[in-house]
Amino acid sequence: MKKILIALTFLLFGTYANADCNIKSGSINILANDFPALRTLVETASECKGKADFKVTHSAEHNKIAVPALTANPSEFSVRVAANSSIVPLMNADLIRPMNDLVKKYGKGIQDSQLITIDGKVMAVAFMANTQHLYVRTDVLKENGIAIPKTYEEVVAASEKIRAAGKMKYPYAAAYKAGWNLAEEFVNMYIGHGGEFFKAGSAKPNINNAKGVATLNMLKKLADLSNPDYLTHDSEAIKVEWESGNVAIMTLWASRSGTLLDDDGDAKITAATKLVAPATVGGGNIPAATLWWDGFTLAKNRSDADAEASFRAMAHAASSKEMVAKAADQAVWLVEGFVPGPKSVGVIEAVKMGAKPYPMLPQMGLMHGALGSEIVEFLQGNESAEQALKDVEAAYMTKAKEQGFL
C-alpha cells in the first residue's frame, strides 16, 4: 500500500516536473487584465517558472498602469498581456522589445499565425481571439415567435416586440458606459456600416458623414430599448442584468461567456442562453463587430535575462495543448490543438463573416477617447447627430495636434 502511494505521488509530481522549463534565474512579473482565460494562462505559465521569481498583477485598470509602469527603467513588469488596442501606446512610446531571437530559440510550440509582426519584428505572441457578439434568450424569443436576429434592425424589431408584449421593460443590453465602452460600441457599429475612421493615408478624422449619422441613430434606437441607466453600464453590469433575467438580447464580449454560463445564478436562464453570430447593420455584409487578439509582450526596460525567463514561461503557456484542452470553455484559443466548443460560436462566426480587426493605428486611441465623451449628449437627446460628430472630430483634432499627429 505504502509503495503504491509513493508511486502515485511520484506520478502526480512527475507531470509537474515535465512542465518545468528548467528556468535557472531571472524574474518574471506579469501585468494582465482580469478575466478567467487570462488567469488560466498565467497559472499555466507559473507551472514552468523553475527557479525564477514569479509575480503577477491582474487588474481591470491595466490600461491605466501599463504605460507608466513600463516607462520606468528598470520597468515594474517584464510581461504585459495586451490586445490590439493596448499594444499601440506601448509601441508608440517604444516600451516593448522585439522577440524574434527568443521565438527562434524557445518558441517551438508557437504557431506562425500567433505571431504579431510589425515590419518583420515579432512584437507580441497572441494566444486568444475575442469579439463582441449577440447573446439571446431562446425561451423569450420562442414565446414571442421571433427568429434569432441576424441584423441590428432585426434586434430592434425583436426588442420592440418583446417590450410590447409586456414581457420585459428593457429587453436589450450592451455596455454603453460613457467612455471607453461606449466608444467601442460606436467603433463596432461604424465598421458595420463600412466606415473608415481616417482619411486615406493621413491622421485626419473621417467620421462626420452619412455612415456616422446612421451609426449614431442605430446606437440611439438600441439605447432606447435598454435600461435607462445604460450610460453607467459596463460589461460586468449588463452581465448582472442578464443573470437577473431582465434582458432577452445582448451584445457582449465572447470572453465573458465563461462566467455568464457558469453554475452561479438561475439555471433556467443559463439553459436558455444561446450564443450566436454578431449582427450586421444597414444592409452591410460584414458584422458590426471588431476582432481582437490577446497576446503577451515583453518590456524593453528590463534585463535580457528577465526577458528570456519571461518569454520561456509565457511561451510554455501560449503553446500548451493541455491548457487549451482543459480550458476550452474559457476562450477561443489560438493555440494548436484547440477544439472549438459551443462558446466559441461568436468569434468563429465573426471570422467567417469577414469581421475586421480593431484598427491598430498609432492615433486610434485619441479617436476612441474623443468618441467616448463627445457622443453622450446625442444619446441623452441634447444634441443632433451631426453636431455630436462635429464635436468628436474637433476634440480629436485638438488632441492629435498636441500629440504631433497632425
Binding site: 490600461n63 491605466k64 504605460v67 488596442s85 493596448s86 499601440v88 501606446p89 509601441m91 508608440n92 517604444d94 499565425s113 500567433q114 505571431l115 504579431i116 509582426t117 510589425i118 515590419d119 497572441a126 481571439a129 421593460k169 458606459k177 460613457a178 467612455g179 471607453w180 491622421a203 435600461n227 435607462p228 441607466d229 445604460y230 450610460l231 453607467t232 476582432l291 487578439w293 489560438l334 471570422v351 480587426p357 491598430m360 493605428l361 498609432p362 486611441g365 485619441l366 476612441h368 477617447g369 465623451s373 453622450v376 449628449e377 441623452q380 441634447n382 444634441e383 453636431q387 464635436d391 474637433a394 476634440a395 483634432m397 485638438t398 488632441k399 495636434k401 498636441e402 500629440q403 504631433g404
Partner: protein
C-alpha cells in the same frame, strides 16, 4: 516669537512645502507650455492572427533621436491653453460672430469641454458651499442645545459622512438611485414613469451630486462650528436673555459675530474643496452628464491610451488660477480686517 526662532521653527515645514508642492507646480507649469514632437510615421507590413495589412507605425529611430535632443517636447507657448479643449479662443470668437442671440452663444460655448466642466464646477461650488455652512451651523446649534448625556453618540453619528471614504459613500448612493435601487425604483413608481432614470438625466444627476456633496461636507463645518460655539462667553448671552432677546436675536447679535472668523475659515476651505470636486463623479459613473475641472485632468492622464501631459498640465494651472480668483475676495477681506485690528 522672535523672527529668528520663527525662521528655524518654520524651516522644515517650509522646505517640505517647496519640495513637494512648490517644485511640482513649477514643473507642471513648464510642462503646460510644451506639446509632443511631430510624430514621424512610416508604412510597414503588420501581421496578426487575422491577416496581414500595410499600415502606419511611429518610426522609433527617428523619434528617439528628436526626443534625446529635446526631451520636453515641442515648445508650444500658450498653444495648449487656447486650443479647443481648453479656453477655445478661436471657437468662442467664431461663435460670437455667428450666434443670433446670447442664449444661442452660451449654448454653443457650454458645449466646449473646458467651459462645460467649468459650469459644473462653479454650479457645484455655488450650491454646496452655502448649504454646507448653513447646515453645519444649524446642526452645531441644535447639538449644543441638547442634553449632555446623549450629545456624544449624536456627535459621532453626525460626523459619520466625513468618516466614510468619499468613494464608498458615493457608491452606496449610486446603488440606491439605480433604476432598480430603493430610491430609483420608488421614484419611478411615484412619478409613474418606468423610463425615469436619475443617472441618465443631466439635471437629476447634478442634483444628486450636489446633495451628496452637502451630505459629505457638512460634518466638517459642523465640527468646526461646534468647537467655536464652546468659546461663546456666557455672560452676554445671559444678559441678553434678561433683556428679553429671542433665540434668533441671540444667535444673530451675539453668537454669529463671535464665531465670524471661523465662518470665514470654513467658507475658504469648503470653496477650495468644492472647486476640486472629483470623487463623486467617478463614484456615480457620472462622466456622461457631469464633468469637473479635476475630472478633465484625470481624463487626460488616464482615460486615453495616449497620455496628454500638456493638456493635463494646462488644466491644472488653470484650476489653480481659478481657485485663487474664487478665494481672492475672502482673502482680501481677511487681510483688511487683520490690518485694522493691528
Amino acid at each position: 516669537m522672535p523672527n529668528r526662532s520663527f525662521f528655524w521653527f518654520f524651516l522644515p515645514a517650509g522646505l517640505a512645502m517647496i519640495l513637494f508642492i512648490g517644485l511640482p507646480i513649477i514643473s507642471t507649469g513648464i510642462q503646460s507650455f510644451y506639446a509632443q514632437h511631430d510624430q514621424i510615421l512610416v508604412e510597414v507590413k503588420k501581421c496578426d492572427p487575422f491577416g496581414c495589412k500595410v499600415s502606419v507605425v511611429v518610426d522609433q529611430e527617428a523619434t528617439s533621436k528628436i526626443k534625446d535632443e529635446k526631451p520636453l517636447g515641442k515648445f508650444n507657448g500658450f498653444g495648449t491653453y487656447i486650443d479647443r479643449n481648453h479656453l477655445a479662443v478661436d471657437q468662442v470668437s467664431e461663435f460670437w460672430g455667428e450666434s443670433k442671440s446670447i442664449g444661442d452663444f452660451i449654448n454653443k460655448v457650454g458645449n466646449l469641454p473646458f467651459y462645460k466642466a467649468l459650469v459644473f464646477t462653479l454650479t457645484y461650488c455655488v450650491f454646496v458651499t452655502p448649504c454646507v455652512l448653513l447646515l453645519g451651523f444649524i446642526i452645531a446649534l441644535s447639538l449644543n442645545a441638547i442634553s449632555r448625556k446623549i450629545r456624544g453618540p449624536l456627535i459621532f453619528g453626525t460626523i459619520l459622512p466625513m468618516i466614510v471614504t468619499p468613494l464608498v459613500g458615493s457608491l452606496v448612493l449610486f446603488w440606491m438611485i439605480d433604476a432598480e435601487g430603493i430610491i430609483g425604483a420608488n421614484l419611478q413608481m411615484l412619478m409613474n414613469d418606468p423610463y425615469l432614470s436619475l443617472k441618465s438625466s443631466k439635471t437629476l444627476m447634478w442634483i444628486t451630486i450636489i446633495i451628496y456633496g452637502v451630505w459629505h461636507h457638512s460634518p466638517f463645518a459642523f465640527v468646526v462650528f461646534y468647537a467655536a460655539l464652546q468659546t461663546v462667553p456666557q455672560e452676554p448671552l445671559e444678559a441678553s436673555i434678561i433683556d428679553g432677546a429671542s433665540r434668533f436675536q441671540r444667535v444673530k447679535h451675539i453668537v454669529l459675530p463671535h464665531i465670524y472668523p471661523v465662518v470665514t475659515f470654513v467658507a475658504l476651505i469648503s470653496l477650495m474643496d468644492n472647486f476640486r470636486v472629483f470623487e463623486p463623479i467617478i463614484g456615480f459613473s457620472a462622466e456622461g452628464s457631469a464633468q469637473s475641472l479635476s475630472w478633465l485632468i484625470y481624463d487626460n492622464l488616464v482615460n486615453e491610451e495616449v497620455i496628454l501631459f500638456g493638456s493635463a498640465a494646462a488644466t491644472s494651472i488653470m484650476t489653480i488660477i481659478g481657485i485663487s480668483i474664487i478665494l481672492a475676495p475672502v482673502l482680501i477681506r481677511t487681510w483688511r480686517e487683520f490690518k485694522i485690528n493691528r
